[in-house]
């Protein structure tokens, strides 16, 4: 038997509870608001936090884009898109600038987001202090007391061990000068996109039952020391082997035939857009 699901899967009571949590999250930027994370038809840790936010805010006129580590066509992204589409009937897109709601795992798109967009990030570990303190009560107290020595110490130890901060992804940030926040495992390359963003950024951790947010035009500063400034991944001298882009986040791949190291845009829709632009330009010049 196939049951008819309610619009956007959730009952209205669940939506209200999540909507209230989002409101508080927006009002207290970077603070993790607890919420009653629901059992979802996908496994915890597969984007249930993001999915619950998406389902609670989405309406009939929205256009949804879902990305998983930069890709529109990966299994996780496709499953989430299917679930939302089947329960709401909203239009789906792969083009960043056409979407009104973007759910993303571990990337912020290369194309700059606008005021009319909301980006929902999936978060596995929302607590930046968890590595230094196992107790939830203690970490909540540390946030209350503005005591972030633990997270600074963590970065300091990385510098002692490796000569640099070795966070690779999920590099902690200060939001509005008050809360230290885990920006979800986005590469450091994307951290600057959180600062004074035009779009509203919502973050959801389903397993850990937390929702938090970065409102637009909010200061977001990556944690760094004066003598060890924050640095992002560099791709100097490298370019995408498909579209040739240079100033984007690149994946390092090995060509299975030649065994050579090649680089490719991580944001697949951006890459396709560049290729289409090139193809269009070629057609115009060859038939001109």
């Amino acid at each position: 038997m196939k049951t008819n699901t309610h619009f956007a899967f959730f009952d209205e009571g669940s939506k209200k509870e999540i909507r209230r949590a989002i409101m508080k999250a927006v009002a207290i930027p970077g603070y993790q608001v607890p919420f009653a994370s629901r059992e979802m038809p996908i496994a915890r840790g597969w984007g249930t936090g993001g999915l619950q936010i998406t389902l609670s805010i989405i309406g009939k006129s929205d256009v949804l884009k879902v990305i998983d580590q930069g890709a529109d066509e990966s299994v996780n992204a496709v499953s989430i898109k299917k679930l939302v589409h089947e329960t709401t009937g909203v239009e789906l897109t792969e083009q960043t600038n056409k979407a009104s709601v973007i759910q993303s795992r571990h990337r912020i798109p290369e194309v700059a987001l606008t005021e009319d967009q909301i980006i929902v990030l999936q978060v596995p570990m929302p607590e930046p202090l968890r590595k230094v303190e196992a107790s939830e009560y203690m970490t909540k107290r540390m946030h209350a007391e503005d005591d972030y020595s633990g997270v600074w110490l963590m970065l300091f130890e990385q510098i002692m061990k490796y000569g640099k901060t070795a966070t690779s992804a999920d590099h902690p940030v200060y939001v509005n000068g008050r809360y230290v926040m885990a920006p979800s495992p986005i590469p450091r390359f994307d951290n600057s996109k959180l600062h004074q963003s035009e779009a509203l950024i919502l973050l959801g951790a389903g397993r850990e039952k937390k929702i938090y947010a970065v409102p637009p035009y909010t200061n977001v500063e990556s944690l760094a020391f004066e003598d060890y400034p924050f640095s992002v991944e560099v791709f100097e001298g490298k370019h995408c082997h498909l579209c040739g882009s240079t100033d984007v986040f690149l994946d390092e791949l090995i060509d299975p035939e030649t065994g050579e190291t090649i680089h490719q845009c991580n944001d697949t829709s951006y890459c396709i857009e560049q290729l289409n632009k090139k193809a269009e330009a070629e057609v115009q010049t060859s038939y001109a």
């Binding site: 009571g13 949590a21 207290i28 309406g59 409102p215 200061n219």
Partner: protein
């Protein structure tokens, strides 16, 4: 036509969320307000906001003592329970409420704790027509440079609000509604300066 509990309230929510994330940005709920066919002693935008956020898990308080029928209706439509001012999650201030009673409400309402700053009250407060040319200058998260706002709340009420949000992250978040079904939000992070005369 009756309001659609699913789609109208979703639209209202997104408008309020847009305004809450961009303090000073006025959103219009006029399309949804048209469908409100109840005879209520509050603005349509106030009622829609209450319908959007209230349910059995939260409590509300209406400041006015003469509004038993509105309390009963909101309770009946949302299953939300009425609570005293110092316990309520949502506080509804109607236009008829006096300056003195609102001052008192600002002092009494809950504004969270340092461990749980979300345990604070959200105010749904009625004003005469809102506009972006006014006596208030807003700055803070969600505002690129600064925003201007006009409400009918007096400067002493804004001072009372500022007093309750001084100890950030403690604070209260306001949803201000008007008779034209417009809403504007002032979360606790917004610095409100009274720059002109009202």
């Amino acid at each position: 036509m009756a309001i659609d509990q699913v789609h109208d309230l979703q639209q209202v929510y997104r408008k309020v969320l847009h305004s809450m994330s961009r303090p000073g940005t006025i959103s219009s709920l006029a399309d949804n307000a048209k469908k409100v066919d109840f005879n209520l002693s509050c603005f349509h935008a106030t009622f829609l906001s209450a319908m959007t956020f209230l349910d059995a898990e939260v409590t509300f308080h209406i400041l006015s003592t003469e509004q038993q029928s509105l309390i009963d209706k909101i309770s009946a439509y949302t299953s939300s329970k009425y609570a005293p001012i110092n316990e309520a999650d949502f506080i509804i201030i109607l236009q008829e409420d006096t300056e003195e009673s609102i001052q008192h409400a600002f002092a009494e309402c809950k504004n969270g704790t340092l461990i749980d700053p979300q345990h604070s009250s959200i105010w749904i407060i009625e004003s005469s027509t809102l506009s972006n040319s006014g006596e208030l200058t807003l700055t803070g998260p969600g505002i690129q440079h600064e925003a201007r706002l006009h409400t009918s709340l007096s400067s002493s009420l804004w001072q009372a609000r500022n007093e309750r949000t001084k100890e950030y992250p403690l604070g209260i978040d306001l949803i201000i509604t008007d008779e034209n079904a417009q809403v504007v939000c002032i979360p606790r992070t917004t610095t409100v300066e009274i720059t002109g005369v009202s």
